[in-house]
């Protein structure tokens, strides 16, 4: 009973103080009460709304330290004049919606962003266009924030560009429906937990489309990472769930559709890895499950280093890859079963759609290339084909227990 009263009390307190109560609305623009956002901010209090009309606003750095809703009407432009951080948020419950933020300052010393949220919770940033910013949206030590429906585009080279959506220390964030192009890393997480990254498109960023480390128990759903300098890198995390994402055309020396480094207890399900130099590169990963993914037309569908153990690679389609699996060791402690391999040449006498002889996804030549990359030039030559066939029949060099004991005869419908 006592706890009930406490809850009621707390609830009514919330109700009383809730920012939307007693809220006023201020208008900014030509022929409006306020001609600048800064003026309006001075007058408003927690819970108020500021509506900014179409126009170009060059106000230097706008610091929001009250719980206000800042709303653009007709995508007004906030210009940082290549000098300033455009908006700094220092209060909880701030919402920034419908602006175009352009030309932020750049600096080698400070992380100047279009929107920086520092030590503030429940902040919402939505429907903004961020153009030519140094860093795009920067969340530091902030929890329960939502970044949704923003479009970020940058134009610089790697030495003087920042990340698109950068989160450092946070919890329960939602990053959804954003498009990020031309930044250093599209989405960057460090020490961010229990967050959801969904439906974002991160493409043509200079380094990684998605880059995170020490960020546990996050979920990544239906994102597309395409043509990023080095693909996607995820490191030193556990409880990662990646589902229905696309990793496409991440090409280059050291480019990965998905780089997994020291990842444990994670689930990679129903993703598409198309035309990457390396689909998944796994290093020191433990107990991850890679299930029902499509690996198609990659240089290497997967490179599984010998430091990986207890991983299960099951029910995936491997089609049109130059090499299916590569590895650098001779011992293999991972399971590759029930996958469809288009290079499988076995037979299925009992017609149960499972090949009667195991498939060895590592080819001799991939081991040769592993040792001597220049040998790649000889790929698909008659000699190499002969080598591979011989090795498949009489394995001597490829890892003895790296095999799919139940290779599927037909691709899975994924």
């Amino acid at each position: 009973m006592k706890s009930m009263i406490t809850i009621l009390f707390l609830f009514s307190c919330c109700f009383f103080y809730h920012p939307t109560l007693n809220a006023a609305t201020y208008f900014v623009g030509k022929n409006k009460p306020f001609s600048s956002i800064k003026q309006a901010l001075q007058h408003c209090k927690n819970g108020d709304t500021i509506i900014v009309e179409t126009g170009l606003y060059k106000e230097g750095e706008i610091i929001i330290d009250k719980a206000v809703i800042l709303k653009g009407n007709g995508q007004p432009v906030l210009d940082g004049n290549h000098q300033y951080q455009i908006i700094t948020v220092k209060a909880d419950y701030v919402s920034i919606d419908g602006f175009k933020l352009q030309h932020s300052g750049k600096s080698d010393v400070n992380d100047i962003a279009a929107i920086k949220v520092f030590n503030a919770n429940y902040v919402t940033i939505s429907n903004n266009i961020i153009d030519d910013a140094f860093w795009g949206i920067l969340l530091q030590k902030s929890n329960h924030c939502t970044v949704i429906n923003n479009r970020l585009k940058a134009y610089s080279n790697e030495s003087n560009s920042g990340n698109g959506i950068h989160c450092w220390k946070g919890d329960s964030l939602i990053i959804a429906n954003n498009t990020i192009t031309g930044h250093r890393d599209g989405i960057y997480f460090e020490f961010v937990t229990n967050s959801i990254i969904q439906n974002n498109i991160s493409e043509k960023n200079l380094r990684y489309g998605l880059h995170f480390m020490f960020s546990h128990n996050d979920t990544y759903i239906s994102n597309r990472f395409q043509q990023n300098g080095s693909g996607v890198a995820v490191m030193y995390s556990h409880g990662v769930k990646m589902e229905n994402n696309s990793f496409i055309e991440n090409w280059g020396d050291g480019a990965y559709g998905l780089l997994l480094k020291e990842i444990t207890d994670s689930y990679i399900y129903h993703n598409r890895f198309l035309r990457n130099t390396i689909g998944i590169h796994a290093e020191g990963t433990t107990r991850i499950k890679v299930e029902k993914n499509i690996f198609s037309n990659n240089g290497w569908a997967m490179r599984v280093q010998a430091s990986c153990s207890d991983n299960n690679i099951l029910y995936n389609n491997f089609q049109g890859n130059t090499f299916d699996i590569a590895t650098n060791g001779s011992l293999m402690l991972n399971k590759f079963d029930h996958n469809y391999w288009d290079k499988y040449e076995g037979y299925d006498l009992n017609k149960d759609n499972i090949g009667d002889v195991p498939y060895r996804p590592v080819s001799l030549f991939s081991m040769i290339v592993e040792r001597n990359p220049s040998a790649m030039m000889l790929f698909r030559s008659f000699m190499v084909t002969l080598f591979d066939k011989t090795e498949k029949v009489l394995p001597g060099i490829i890892p003895e227990n790296l095999k799919d004991n139940f290779p599927l005869m037909k691709p899975l419908a994924l």
Partner: protein, 255 residues
């Protein structure tokens, strides 16, 4: 010149072996495409055909044709004709007939099932290899009078380009593992038209893998405009040099 070319081509096209070769290519190509669920898998098998069967057929057929045409060549030489035009017509006729055979036998199935850039490059390299190996066959045939010896030599040439050359390269690669050999590899590929054509197809088929590692060097070189022009030029040299040598030899040859 045009006239002799016309007659040589007509003669070769009537040859049952060329017809059989065309049909064989066609049966193989169509069955490869129809038996595989995945057209790109069919392309893989066709790649081996292009890189092995096409040079082999071109070089052996051309050599045999030249040896068998000795009397016909004599007849032509006794006519008021330039020897050079007789020889070049023979080359053009063989090159045209074998290219057409490849195009009809393998090119058309490729166009039907795989009209991609990979397919186009495959057709082009198939034709280029046909022409190159005709030129090499003519050189071998003009240098050796004995038919059996000449055909033996052409088979050795084919074996060298198809297998031995690559074996030597692999051997060198592992002997000098500690040295950067990528530029050297690009350089050596110029000495084997089969390798050069294979790399051009790899650039289409396995571009993702070639982008990785040092493979990017191949992509950077052969993928660039300069690189493709150089590759095309080298392939052209593979036609021109044997053809030029054999023409020179034929002009002085006693029949």
């Amino acid at each position: 010149m045009k006239k002799i070319f016309k007659y040589v081509t007509a003669d070769i096209l009537r040859n049952k072996i060329v017809l059989a070769y065309t049909l064989l290519l066609m049966v193989i190509s169509f069955s490869l495409f129809m038996l595989q669920d995945d057209a790109s898998k069919g392309m893989l098998s066709l790649l081996n055909i292009t890189l092995l069967i096409v040079p082999l057929t071109s070089i052996i057929f051309s050599a045999i044709y030249v040896y068998n045409s000795a009397e016909f060549i004599e007849l032509l030489v006794s006519q008021p004709l330039k020897r050079k035009s007789i020889w070049l017509s023979l080359f053009y006729g063989l090159a045209a007939a074998l290219s057409i055979a490849f195009f009809v036998g393998a090119g058309i199935p490729i166009i039907i099932y795989q009209p991609t850039s990979t397919g186009i490059i495959m057709i082009i390299t198939g034709i280029v290899l046909s022409v190159i190996f005709v030129a090499i066959a003519l050189l071998a045939a003009v240098l050796t009078r004995d038919k059996a010896k000449g055909i033996g030599i052409t088979i050795m040439i084919w074996l060298f380009f198809a297998l031995i050359f690559d074996g030597l390269i692999l051997f060198i690669l592992f002997q000098f593992e500690d040295y950067p050999l990528d530029k050297f590899m690009i350089f050596t590929s110029a000495f084997n038209p089969v390798d050069l054509c294979r790399i051009l197809i790899l650039l289409q088929m396995d571009v993702s893998a070639l982008m990785g590692y040092t493979g990017a060097i191949f992509k950077d070189f052969f993928g660039s405009h300069v690189g493709s022009v150089v590759a095309g030029f080298v392939l052209l040299l593979w036609v021109i040099i044997p053809l030029w040598l054999s023409t020179r030899k034929f002009q002085k040859k006693d029949l």
